[in-house]
């Protein structure tokens, strides 16, 4: 193709792009001879230049503080604030115990064995509630995810039940199965089932149909598709559900342990109120916080090992 740009045409400026037609012109006669509007008599106007990096273009310096230390700074600030508020007597010891008092309370209760006993009972309840809830939620998600009939029946039912606040079930649970351990475990189970179900079901359904097709094209049967494609594809959703449901489990434990109980962290919290022991109350709150952190760390660990393919981590 012979594209001819007229000799008289001005050099292309930023303001005005000269339009030259692509029609071949044999004789080389200038095509665009007119003066482009906006250009000065001496050609295009020199544009104003600026530094797009905004003079922040220094090469990145190595961080002086390592990331774990920066992550710890937040909790450390909270602790410092706690010390400050209680140490300078901004609030009375009655209202909010100082860190030292809480530590003393922990020593006292640990020494008498009360803390270990109650913690054990609470962990037992949460453990069973989570185990049952995860099992049931997973089973329902698999039924709804794999079979169209299952989806029609299970998913609509789950979406209806999901709208009922679990805590509202408590009176009914007490009527059904009393106030024993079973009732507490049942409450936690009921709360855990939904996040597990919703996220795992969504995970199964979000598996790329193209991967399923490819798996089928390369000879995977039904069982192979489930094992090699669908389960790994649904795993991220399941782990989101797990993290969420562990949070729900601790929340429901607090409720369950404040109704007719004689053991557990929640019981300790309630009885501390009767004795007016704010140090024990704060201790219970700290324990709840630490347990929550521990659970989060556990799921994080699971994610790191099960979803290593996501970060492209090629450790052997």
């Amino acid at each position: 193709m012979t594209e001819v740009i007229g000799e008289a045409a001005p050099a292309p400026g930023l303001v005005n792009v000269p339009v030259t037609s692509g029609v071949p012109v044999a004789s080389g006669v200038p095509v665009a001879s007119g003066e482009p509007a906006g250009a000065g008599p001496d050609g295009p106007v020199a544009p104003l230049l600026e530094d797009p990096t905004g003079k922040r273009n220094r090469a990145r310096r190595a961080r002086a503080v390592p990331s774990w230390a920066r992550r710890l700074a937040g909790p450390a600030l909270l602790l410092l604030g706690w010390f400050a508020v209680t140490g300078f007597d901004l609030v009375s010891d009655r209202a909010f115990a100082s860190p030292g008092a809480v530590l003393d309370a922990a020593r006292e209760l640990w020494g008498s064995g009360e803390l270990a006993d109650n913690l054990g009972v609470s962990l037992y309840r949460v453990g069973w509630g989570c185990a049952l809830g995860v099992a049931i939620g997973l089973a329902l998600a698999v039924i709804a995810g794999f079979f169209r009939f299952g989806e029609d029946v299970v998913d609509s039912a789950m979406n209806f039940l999901r709208t009922i606040p679990v805590i509202a079930l408590l009176p009914l649970i007490i009527v059904w199965i009393g106030i024993g351990e079973e009732a507490k475990i049942f409450l936690i189970t009921a709360g855990v089932v939904f996040p597990i179900y919703m996220n795992t079901f969504a995970g199964i359904r979000s598996v790329d149909i193209k991967l399923v097709e490819a798996g089928r094209a390369f000879g995977l049967g039904r069982a192979g598709l489930v094992r090699r494609v669908i389960i790994p594809g649904a795993l991220p959703g399941f782990l989101v559900g797990l993290r969420w449901s562990l949070g729900v489990a601790w929340l429901l434990l607090v409720f369950a342990e404040q109704v007719n109980t004689d053991s557990g962290i929640g019981y300790l919290l309630n009885s501390a109120q009767a004795w007016n022991r704010t140090d024990i109350m704060v201790l219970c709150l700290v324990i709840y916080g630490l347990l929550g952190l521990l659970c989060d760390g556990f799921v994080r660990l699971l994610e790191r090992s099960l979803l290593s393919w996501r970060r492209g981590f090629s450790g052997t």
Binding site: F218, G219, R228, P232, S314, T316
Partner: protein, 251 residues
């Protein structure tokens, strides 16, 4: 399932073929995508299929791959066939080697998988996760996954469309080398006229659900793009694809 119509070719009846399609029709609602299509591909033959977007190229490939069975007409394809998709479609949670040998039975699949990876130039990358592979590398894993099955027919659906120009040139050479060594029949769907002429023994153009053009390439390999016969065929194909102005400009 597709097995009802997608019987396997044994090569005993008529002339041996890797694909034999007679009067294939596929209708989506009121829209006739394939309209009584006839197509035969001989064993070891490299056929490129061109067509405007929406002309039914991918539909034909999906039918031949066994993903679509709502068709009428006769469709036969080699039993040992493999597909390379436009995107690599590797399982992201399975390492490269696992993706290559996916669904393969047998004891020595690992050895065969390693050999296939080595053949596409990815020896030593067996344990790589798909996210760590570049586009060209991922597509080479997909090629290895097709190869390791020792197919009689390989179908490729615009396999290099998403790759950059330099990588595409390398992939062309690799594909030619692999075809020379293994001699499968190839059905290569593309929208790139030059790519079709460069690689294929025969070029087909699909228009309105039928083959409107079926020409042997008949050029010596390697094929220089500057060869007058190359340019003439390109112009003819472009005209057939409805871009006549460009076809004239190209001559």
């Amino acid at each position: 399932m597709a097995t009802r119509i997608l019987r396997d070719l044994t090569g005993a009846d008529e002339a041996a073929a890797a694909i034999r399609v007679r009067g294939l029709t596929r209708v989506f609602g009121d829209h006739v995508v394939l309209d009584g299509l006839d197509l035969t591909v001989a064993p070891g033959e490299f056929v490129a299929l061109l067509g405007r977007s929406g002309s039914g190229k991918s539909t034909l490939l999906r039918i031949l791959g066994g993903f679509d069975d709502e068709v009428s007409g006769e469709v036969l394809a080699a039993r040992r066939r493999a597909v390379v998709f436009q995107e690599p479609r590797l399982l992201p949670w399975t390492r490269a080697l696992g993706n290559v040998v996916l669904g393969l039975p047998g004891a020595d699949v690992d050895r065969r998988g390693r050999a296939a990876l080595a053949e596409v130039g990815l020896a030593g990358r067996e344990r790589s996760w798909p996210v760590t592979l570049s586009g060209g590398e991922a597509q080479r894993v997909a090629l290895a996954r097709a190869l390791v099955r020792e197919p009689d027919l390989v179908m490729l659906d615009e396999p290099f469309g998403a790759l950059d120009a330099l990588t595409r040139i390398r992939m062309h050479a690799l594909l030619q080398e692999l075809c020379r060594r293994h001699r499968p029949a190839v059905l290569f769907v593309t929208h790139d006229v030059d790519e079709a002429i460069l690689l294929a023994d025969r070029v087909l153009v699909l228009t309105d659900g039928r083959l409107s053009l079926d020409v042997p390439v008949g050029l010596p390999t390697p094929r220089p793009r500057a060869h007058p016969a190359f340019a003439a065929l390109r112009a003819r194909l472009l005209t057939e694809l409805g871009v006549r102005d460009l076809a004239e400009a190209a001559t």
